[in-house]
């Protein structure tokens, strides 16, 4: 597509529920990133995919968080047993490649705002 698409744009859930957030990257972009932005903070890295595999998941806060990208395109961020502290905007970004140069620009989606009551 023309840009990075994230759905849903807003999600309100109750504590303890399971949530899935979807990201559809720019066509042909092999690298995909998930970030989390809490109120008043900068984006915080969660996980990076190169193709289908998670190349770096060091930012996932705990084992309630999991992400997949089974066909190397669309990615889903999954949060189990949600807590109020999970409330944030979850940002997805993609770039043409995630090679050694590291100079590639990330294009971000508009984000999915998650509110856990």
């Amino acid at each position: 597509g023309a840009g990075v698409s994230q759905t849903p744009s807003n999600k309100v859930t109750e504590k303890g529920k399971y949530v899935e957030l979807r990201c559809d990257p720019i066509s042909g972009h092999t690298a995909l990133y998930w970030y989390r932005q809490s109120l008043g903070q900068g984006p915080e890295f969660l996980i990076y995919f190169q193709g289908t595999g998670a190349a770096d998941d060091s930012g996932l806060p705990n084992d309630r968080f999991f992400a997949v990208r089974p066909e190397g395109s669309v990615s889903t961020l999954k949060i189990q047993r949600t807590e109020r502290g999970d409330s944030a905007v979850y940002l997805c970004a993609s770039s043409p490649q995630g090679q050694v140069s590291g100079a590639n620009v990330l294009t971000f989606g508009a984000g999915s705002r998650l509110t856990v009551l």
């Binding site: 900068g42 984006p43 990076y48 995630g98 590291g102 971000f108």
Partner: protein
């Protein structure tokens, strides 16, 4: 580990005046530096980047940034501010040694008054 500091939570400037938004960084290797802007309810938009070469880089909407290796800084500048420049600005850094994680600062809110 990489880190970015944006020492100002907010910068106020009058329209037509020059603006500077400060950023300092820390990396193990050589830095790749980026500035992004965020408007309300919008995603982050890329403004400019420094990879190598000329220390002064020019980007979108008349913004530029100066890389200073000795001061480990990458301040964002614009000669003449517009009210429409009011937004949240983020500095970000990557290490050139292959680590793909892009680390962001906490952001600086720019308010341009008419």
């Amino acid at each position: 580990a990489q880190s970015v500091a944006q020492p100002e939570d907010q910068v106020n400037v009058a329209e037509g005046n020059p603006l500077t938004v400060k950023c300092t960084y820390s990396v193990s290797g050589n830095p790749y530096l980026f500035w992004y802007v965020q408007y309300p309810n919008r995603g982050l938009q890329f403004l400019l980047k420094y990879i190598t070469g000329d220390n002064l880089v020019k980007g979108s909407y008349g913004f530029e940034a100066e890389f200073n290796k000795s001061q480990t800084s990458f301040h964002l500048k614009k000669p003449s501010a517009l009210v429409s420049d009011s937004a949240l600005y983020f500095c970000a850094v990557r290490d050139d040694r292959g680590f793909q994680k892009l680390v962001f600062g906490t952001g600086t809110r720019l308010l341009v008054s008419p």
